[in-house]
Each structure stands twice: as C-alpha cells, then as structure tokens.
Subunit: 264 residues, 2 copies
C-alpha cells in the first residue's frame, strides 16, 4: 500500500536502558505523530544496545533504505555514550572538537547558578562538543549540548524534552511529501463480526489504509476502525461506506473523529 | 561487553498503529524485564509496518542473528493482520486450519454470553485458527485465539494482557543463560562531574556494565548510576568503589537499590 512519492524515516533508539525495560521510550510516538504532520512517514523504529557494531550496522543499513534516519540517545558525557563515534565511523570522518559547541557549553555552564565544581567544563563535558567533521549542529534549547546532522542522519539526545526541543528546531529543514490524514469511528461489536465486511471495504478502497483496533470495555467488545490516506475525498468516501457497513450489522457507529494534521 | 554464553532475543513489534504514534507499545519494557528474569537478554527490538516484505525480511534476518525472536501484533481476524502468513512464508510452509485452534475458538464463542451474531465462528474468526504447518500452539488464556511457535520464533498477540498471558504460559519452554543482576545508586551531582571517574570505574570492572542516566528534579541535577552483571560479587565490588567515587565528589550516594530478578 506504499505510495510511490512517500517520504520515509527510521528511528534508532539507542540505549541498553530501553531494552532492559528500565526506561520506557516516549520518543517513538512523538516522532511518529510529528513527522506525519510534515508529510514524513515513520516506516520503522529499532531499539539498539550500546554496542558499536550494532549501532554502526543499523545506521548504515537504514540511511540507505530510508529518506531520513533519526537517532535518540547516547550523546551524553559518559563512557556509555558512543553514538557520535559510531556515526562518524559510518560516514568515514573523524570526530573533532567543534568550537561553536564548546562556546555554547561554556556559556551555558557560566549562566547556570551552580557550585563551582559543577560548573567546570571538564573533559567529560567537552566530549559533548566532539562532533563528526562536516556535520551541522542541532540546537539544544534545554541544556546546550548540541545534536548534529550529517547527510540524512539526525542525531538527537534521548531525554524526551531535549529530543523534542531539538526536533522542533530543525524540522523546518526536512522535506516531506503528502501528509497522511485519518478518520476513525468505533463499531460497538466484536472485531470478528466486522472483519469480513471490512476486508471488502479495504478492497474497494485500495488508496487508503484501513486499520482495526479491537478493545473490550466494561464487557462491551468493540473495534476502532481507522481510515488513513493522503486524499481527503478518498477518506470521506471510504468513511461513508464504513458507516453503512456498521449499520448493516445492526448498530450505530460512534466516536467519529477526523484528524487533519495540517490543521491547527 | 557481550558475554560468550549470553542468550539473546529480538522483539518485532508489528503494526502501523505503533509507528503512527496512535498506539504506545507497552510490550517492549515488559519483555525486556521478564526475559531478563529467565536469563535472556533482549538485544534488539524493531517496530515494523503491516507490510509483508518488511515483516518477512526482519523475521528472517533476526531468527538467524538471535537465539529467540518474539513477535507481537498482526494475528487477529482483520485484513491488516498478516503476521501468520509472513511467518509461514519465511519458513516455507503452508498456513493450514488447525483443528485444535478451531476447537478452542468454538468453545470460547459458545461459553461467552453473546448476541447470536457475535457468537458466530465466521470466516474472519476462523482465520485466527489458520496456523503455519508444523507450528506449536501458544495458549491464549484471555480470548482463546492462539499464538504459535515455530523453531526459535514465538508469535504473540499485540494487546498487552493477551501478550502477557501468552508469554507467561510458554516462558518455561525457553532456555536462558546467566541472569543479569543490577545495583543502582544516585549521585546527586550533574552527570558531567561524575562522567570522568565513572569511565575509570568501568575500565577497572570490565565484567559489569555501568550505565548513567541523568535527571533534573526541582533544580537539582543528578545521575542514576546502574551496575549490571551476572556475578553478584563483581557487582558488589564495583558498587563499593562507586560509593567511594561519589563521596570523593563531596556528596553522599542516595537511593541505593539491588535488583535480583531471580528473587521473589
């Protein structure tokens, strides 16, 4: 069902703490939703351990396969932060101390009301100013230490408010395609009853994607049916048939909502 | 830092709804934590769209690379549920109607206090009894429709309570290695101050993994430092040095916790 002009992205979530279950990733849903608003489809996401070969392998595979690759995590001051070194290795460039990044860190440390010990721009902190040669800095509006962009790869921090601040800052540079819109309604019947007619509906409307998400609330089964596509008229036509389909099962569709990510 | 006898797993989260941001996956942290309890390390996770080529490619790559592959999602009755067909394709076997699965679905539908329409074991519902030839059923204690296991691949539903019920049922069949234990403490200083000595500590204790997770609460910076390893004595030795290291920064370590996943 992939469109020919679709712009795709892959997210690489870097960090042992996500895989161990210690940290619950919140960046995937944020990026999935916010990339869609600018016409980019998050087509895959991977959570990877802090292991050089794994990170390098995934970055190299994904930068060739997708229009954009976003990474989160592993750009802090500690020994387990190895994302920058991995990205440099993939692109075959050295990591160099970036003077603009040093300046930003220096200014940030000075401005903070900190204990003199906490303010020192020590070697560990300066590591955050080491950037692959030729990369463009990504602004960090929260804690100064920048991310960076090299070719189609965008390297961000993993801490959600910092990641969001970085993404909001550079998203204007990304080139998206058609924006996916959606329309959803709930059929208050078990998914197994709606599945047959839904398959027929999908066949009649191959240019939209129809998803079905079953639930059970207070002993009432239901399925949320979602129509996604780039053409509002196609979506409206499929929605009209979907309403009829649900009524033919002897129930009324409920909770209809239209999501136009380009609005507001 | 990978151990030679480590048992590894990969999780494939199947479904457009996770990538669009509509559904927040809760299965990754659950499996990361609960696999570790039986000595299996979740070494990668991927969120994939409902696209046959993508699912087949990832399953085939990951079943060769990891000891176990777990999939969640895409085994329901609707047209967008294509996981079963993909797995069969990867293993080169046909999908056949499994009579034991039919029996379970029939019994479940009969037992439920449902409208006669909702109770019908129609074609869509029977699709959930179609299983790759030669696969072993995975019990579904919630809603009957089974998952299945073929070689090192375990196929589960995506709805979290069903996934958990399935996993709890078959986890006794998995063969784990050494269980990762952990010990953590908080250094109430900015991560940048602890990073240098922490690197030295990691070098002196190569058989444990030391992670650092920075935070800021009520204007107080801190870093949660986590020591992970299979040998409790190694962990205790690293923890003792870590306490000393934090005290040398002029502060006391706080919130010490030991996690022994084999206990309780």
């Amino acid at each position: 069902m992939a469109k020919s002009k679709e712009v795709t992205a892959c997210l690489l979530i870097i960090g042992n703490e996500v895989l161990s279950g210690r940290t619950h990733d919140a960046n995937l849903p944020y990026l999935g939703e916010n990339l869609n608003k600018i016409g980019i489809r998050l087509a895959e996401a991977r959570a990877l351990p802090d292991v050089e070969a794994e990170i390098c392998g995934a970055v190299d595979q994904c930068r060739r396969k997708f229009d954009y690759v976003f990474t989160t995590g592993g750009i802090g001051p500690t020994h387990d932060d190895i994302t920058t070194a991995c990205i440099a290795k993939v692109f075959g460039v050295p990591v160099v101390r970036n003077q603009e990044a040093v300046r930003r860190l220096t200014e940030y440390m000075k401005a903070k009301n900190l204990d003199p010990n906490d303010r020192a721009l020590n070697e560990a902190r300066l590591k955050m100013a080491d950037i692959p040669e030729g990369a463009t800095l990504i602004d960090n509006p929260v804690s100064a230490a920048p991310g960076f962009n090299i070719e189609n790869v965008f390297v961000m921090a993993g801490v959600p408010p910092i990641m969001r601040g970085m993404f909001e800052g550079f998203k204007g540079r990304l080139k998206g395609g058609a924006v996916m819109r959606s329309h959803s309604m709930t059929a208050p019947v078990p998914e197994g009853r709606v599945a047959g007619p839904l398959t027929e509906l999908q066949k009649r409307h191959p240019d939209v994607e129809i998803g079905s998400y079953p639930f059970k609330r207070e002993n009432q089964f239901g399925a949320t049916l979602v129509i996604r596509g780039t053409d509002p008229d196609e979506i409206a036509a499929a929605a009209e048939e979907m309403r009829r389909m649900i009524r033919e099962l002897g129930v009324e569709p409920v909770n209809e909502t239209t999501d136009d990510p380009t609005a507001g």
